[in-house]
Amino acid sequence: MKGLERELAALSDAVEWPDVPDLAPVVAGRLGDAPRRPGLARRPLAIAVAVVLAAVLAVLAVPPARTAILDWLGIGGARIVRVDELPPLPLHQDLEVLGRPATLADARAQAGFRFADPPRDEPRPDEVRLAPGLRVSYLWRDGADARLIVTQFPGRVGDPALLKKLAGDATRIERFAIDGDTAVWLEGGPHVVLFVAPDGLIRDDHGWLAGNTLLVDRDGTTVRVEGALDRADAVDLVRAMPASPSSGG
């Protein structure tokens, strides 16, 4: 260890850390109703989200009934649903929903669908995440948060990867074309992304309040670009993404 590293390590003891509270008794008191098996946790929030989505789907299934839904658009594997009121999802990103960290080579071998390589002339993504058969994501980070996420997923309607966006009234939604591919741009107001898990369930940590979003349908794969960028930049980014020659499918 070099001098500065040694000094920093020594600094650990020299910082005014507050006393560590004994968390064990309080935590133990809260475990009573905690389920021990995965998949059974259903907090009220999760139930609320599931109910909203179920209502949205139910209404969609019966075209004349449009009480809760103001508008909706479909593109590739994504459905954008405009609703009166957004579900009360917390403002956070849970990147686990995007799958596990992987190398690009792993993603190509295991994705199970065709997807495009990371954009040329851009810094390499900080992370590639893979949910085999469901989605491949490129992440560019700003500290612990993702500042830009490009996710690709199979575009077949009814695919388990089907992504839903619930858009509030304030969100501007524009449909246009990029080199002949259908695209949708969402900007402005908050919109919520819901991912449906492989088992068809929606869990409480599977949504976040999204930034500006571009959705493009490219040869049966949907590309979703999301982050603090404007429409022109998002379009450039998608144009710079070459189709992967070795993507499985």
Binding site: L4, L11, A14, W17, L23, A24, P38, P90
Partner: protein, 185 residues
């Protein structure tokens, strides 16, 4: 992995079967580091305590998804850091904890000779230098050196790859060195 207490795996297995006393033991084992990681991420003592508490409960609920045989601490710290960051964001705080040098070096154990050798001025200079770094640089150095986390644990807590921890640490050290210099040992 070698530093893991030998009975941690057993405790995790017992907790998975629903033995809350085993989980309580795990909480005691890791609450110190969990609280400090939460403190650094949340930037507030009260939020850190609540975040660590919630994270332990969440982790218990998620134990079924925990891969047996893998180290528990990085997995836990990832949940803790996420909770704490969410609280920081909800509170509208831009950055994590502002660290202060203790006027008198204290702690559970006797300070190391290296700690004793650091003058108060030097400690303040180092902390000032850390504070002047951009957040990404600062957080990686704080996790690696002040919280004494390994690369895997730092990667988990910051939600970045292990290789990124390595490269970011090296760059951050260079930047800090440019600000505070390096005392020759």
């Amino acid at each position: 992995m070698g530093s893991r207490p030998p009975d941690e795996e057993t405790l995790v297995a017992r907790a998975k079967r629903g033995e809350t006393t085993a989980y309580e033991e795990l909480v005691r084992m890791h609450q110190g580091i969990a609280f400090r990681v939460a403190l650094v991420a949340a930037g507030d003592r009260g939020d850190a305590e609540e975040a660590a508490q919630d994270a332990f409960v969440k982790a218990y609920r998620a134990l079924g998804r925990f891969r047996e045989g893998s180290p528990f601490r990085p997995w836990l710290l990832r949940i803790v850091a996420n909770e704490a960051r969410n609280r920081r964001r909800s509170a509208g705080r831009r950055s994590g904890l502002a660290l202060r040098a203790a006027a008198v070096v204290s702690g559970d154990a006797a300070p190391s000779p290296e700690t004793t050798a650091l003058t108060l001025e030097r400690r303040e200079a180092l902390l000032g230098g850390l504070a002047a770094l951009d957040e990404r640089d600062r957080e990686v150095l704080v996790h690696r050196f002040l919280l004494e986390l390994g690369e895997e644990e730092t990667a988990a807590a910051l939600g970045i790859r292990r290789g990124t921890v390595k490269s970011r640490t090296s760059r951050a050290l260079d930047r800090l060195r440019a600000v505070v210099g390096e005392e020759v040992a």
